[in-house]
């Protein structure tokens, strides 16, 4: 089959690779219908996540058609059109059974690679480095899906592929960001980052009862979309003093809930950005926690910081004093796809949320490098590029 393979920093090529096969009894093989780029792929391509190898197939946000079924798969049939959660959960360990699917004990075959750094290994993820399982990703014609009964969800009739594909990762991640923020009636929610995940966090915050959502980014077209499609009040971080704006827009209180939908590769025009960039350059720091610092300062006393932007390693100069003395609550984590997807498919099916506007370009696999270039630079008004293998 054809697959989009990593060949080094920002070097993606379509290669012929062996077709996947059923390996374990709970596996299925899926013919990939659509597979989206994701912001966390950029961390791989830009070299911030170690343990990538040449030839790895990337991609983890996808929908497809079931073509082969392992002997212990009970719920799925050939021909089923399903959306698959990006993070693999076994369904049997204590974490999966308490709905913390991204903490699955069993789905990462390479758990030993993460343990020296993290202490304990999180779940395996499709196409997301060897430390997170070394599984083949979804930018390919076919993909093997382990624990398929747990990770695959039937797409309701009437829900378009273009909407369903984002129920794999962007929507559940954004929704979990809002869910963890513990939004109460009347709350003002601040969201950093207006990419697909940030916009899903905005829409989810409204679903969960937020009074106002203020969203921030540096890309004009994303701010436009956040304003027009997601109904947020928007601030351009390059033009506005964010701390002042958030304080004065909220009557001097500060936002109640702050969601970091940016993560480790934050970019800004502030001196902080160059400070972190320089530290990364000499390997004193892995991640640039610019958004995290801003959110801690901006958040009202006793508020909640919800982190869904991905961090990988170590960060520096976190204003812990502010966080501690203001009594902030921190919640964070990779999303629990299997917990949220059924509910989110309902939202999409009954028209409460539309996700299809996130899709800016549909491209064949062969244009993978161009798609990621668009996405990485956010040029050509790109929110998301989706491949149709």
């Amino acid at each position: 089959m054809r697959a989009l393979c990593y060949n080094g920093r920002n070097d993606l090529r379509v290669e012929r690779v062996p077709d996947p096969e059923i390996v374990n009894p709970q596996d299925i093989i899926l013919r990939v219908i659509m597979s989206s780029v994701c912001g966390s792929d950029l961390h791989l391509l830009n070299g911030y996540v170690p343990t990538m190898q040449e030839g790895d197939i990337i991609g983890h946000e996808f929908i497809g058609e079931v073509v082969e079924i392992g002997p212990d798969v009970k719920k799925l049939r050939r021909g089923d059109r399903v959306v698959v959660g990006s993070i693999i959960g076994c369904g049997e360990c204590s974490y999966c059974q308490s709905q913390s699917w991204s903490l699955c004990d069993n789905s990462n075959p390479n758990a030993y690679m993460v343990e020296p750094l993290y202490g304990y290994s999180p779940a395996g993820i499709f196409g997301y480095s060897h430390a997170f399982g070394g599984y083949a990703g979804s930018h390919a014609e076919y993909i093997r899906v382990p624990f398929a009964d747990r990770g695959c969800f039937l797409i309701p009739e009437g829900v378009k592929d273009e909407s369903a594909v984002f129920c794999s990762d962007a929507f559940p991640t954004g929704f979990m960001g809002a869910d963890m923020a513990d939004i109460r009636p009347g709350d003002t929610v601040a969201v950093w980052g207006c990419g697909a995940v940030g916009q899903m966090a905005i829409r989810s915050a409204y679903l969960l009862g937020a009074e106002r959502v203020i969203a921030m980014d540096r890309h004009k077209h994303l701010l436009e979309q956040a304003k027009n499609n997601s109904n947020a009040e928007v601030l351009s971080i390059d033009e506005i003093d964010i701390q002042e704006a958030l304080k004065e827009m909220t009557g001097g209180r500060g936002p109640d809930r702050c969601i970091d939908a940016v993560g480790m590769e934050a970019v800004s025009s502030s001196p902080q950005y160059y400070y972190d960039k320089a530290k990364q350059w000499v390997r004193l720091e892995n991640d640039r926690p610019i958004v995290l610092r801003e959110a801690i300062k901006a958040c009202r006393k006793g508020g909640t910081i919800s982190i869904i932007g991905v961090y990988g390693g170590f960060v520096d100069s976190i204003p812990m004093g502010a966080a501690m003395n203001k009594g902030l609550t921190f919640k964070m984590g990779q999303m629990h796809a299997q917990k949220y997807i059924p509910r989110l498919l309902d939202y999409v099916a009954n028209g409460q949320v539309d996700t299809s506007d996130l899709l800016t370009y549909k491209m064949p696999l062969e244009e993978g490098q161009r798609g990621y270039d668009y996405f990485n630079s956010k040029s050509n008004n790109t929110t998301r590029v989706v491949f149709t293998p």
């Binding site: 089959m1 697959a3 393979c5 690779v17 062996p18 077709d19 996947p20 096969e21 059923i22 390996v23 374990n24 009894p25 709970q26 343990t51 190898q53 030839g55 790895d56 197939i57 082969e68 079924i69 392992g70 002997p71 212990d72 693999i88 076994c90 369904g91 049997e92 360990c93 204590s94 059974q97 004990d105 069993n106 789905s107 990462n108 075959p109 390479n110 758990a111 030993y112 690679m113 395996g124 060897h130 399982g133 070394g134 599984y135 083949a136 390919a140 076919y142 993909i143 093997r144 382990p146 624990f147």
Partner: protein, 296 residues
Amino acid sequence: MARTANLAQAGVLDIAPVDPIPSGSSKINVGQNERWLSVGAGLLVANIGIRRGGIGGVLLTALGATLALRGASGYCPINDALGRDTSDDKTETNVLEISKSVTINKPREEVYQFWRKLENLPQFMRHLEDVKQTDERRSHWVARLDSENIAAKALPKVEWDADIVEEEENSRLVWRSVPGATIDNSGEVRFVDAPGNRGTEVHATIKYRPPQGIVGEAVLKLLNPAFKQMVKEDIRRFKRLMETGEIPTNEGPSGRKPETINPALRQPIQNTQTTPQQDTPQSQTKPSITDESIVL
């Protein structure tokens, strides 16, 4: 002072009361002076052998190497056969220890019973080829290194008999190898209810005596962290098999090249990928349990 991870010997864990009986090559039976003489003579003879070359040279080199090894390791099979022991004080190599635990989200009886059927162990213990229970207490164990590495291939299969010396149904097993094992070993596996309905804690402690005397001890002390990781991976596979009925893997033809580097051990991994079968009908697809190989 160096911090120890030998938790049973340090008394942190109350487990594995039995030490392996020293037998075979883990005994030291050559005295200190005799050892230095052996090393010296051996190196001299070996040196002559190498200079001479040819068949005589090979034989001399072999003799020299054997003498040098005898001197360095403190163990002489000829002395052992004659019952001759010229060693001074230290008569046994030290016991090395590995302790690892895992929590399995299944009832204690189920977890214990699966383990107690010793024939099941090679399903998740990577380096075990075969275990046979020969009578109620005794079992025969065969381990091998699944490696294409020439040095690893030259190593003999490691085989031993072990006796279960203490057993409490559904809670603990203590074993000890029968004298004459390639590597003298003992240990305990304990099965404890995890608090708050979290399933079963499995605590495993393995003790072993390095073969080949003090040289073996030095080498194995260096290798002990890698052995620890192997034990950890074994019980992790046990957990995965018990909880999910399969061992998750990224191997097999899954649409991408197999992993070639094992960063944990920085050693090349052998390609254990099965040959792709063409047009296998659904019903004949056998589920196979594979996992990446860890190479010494």
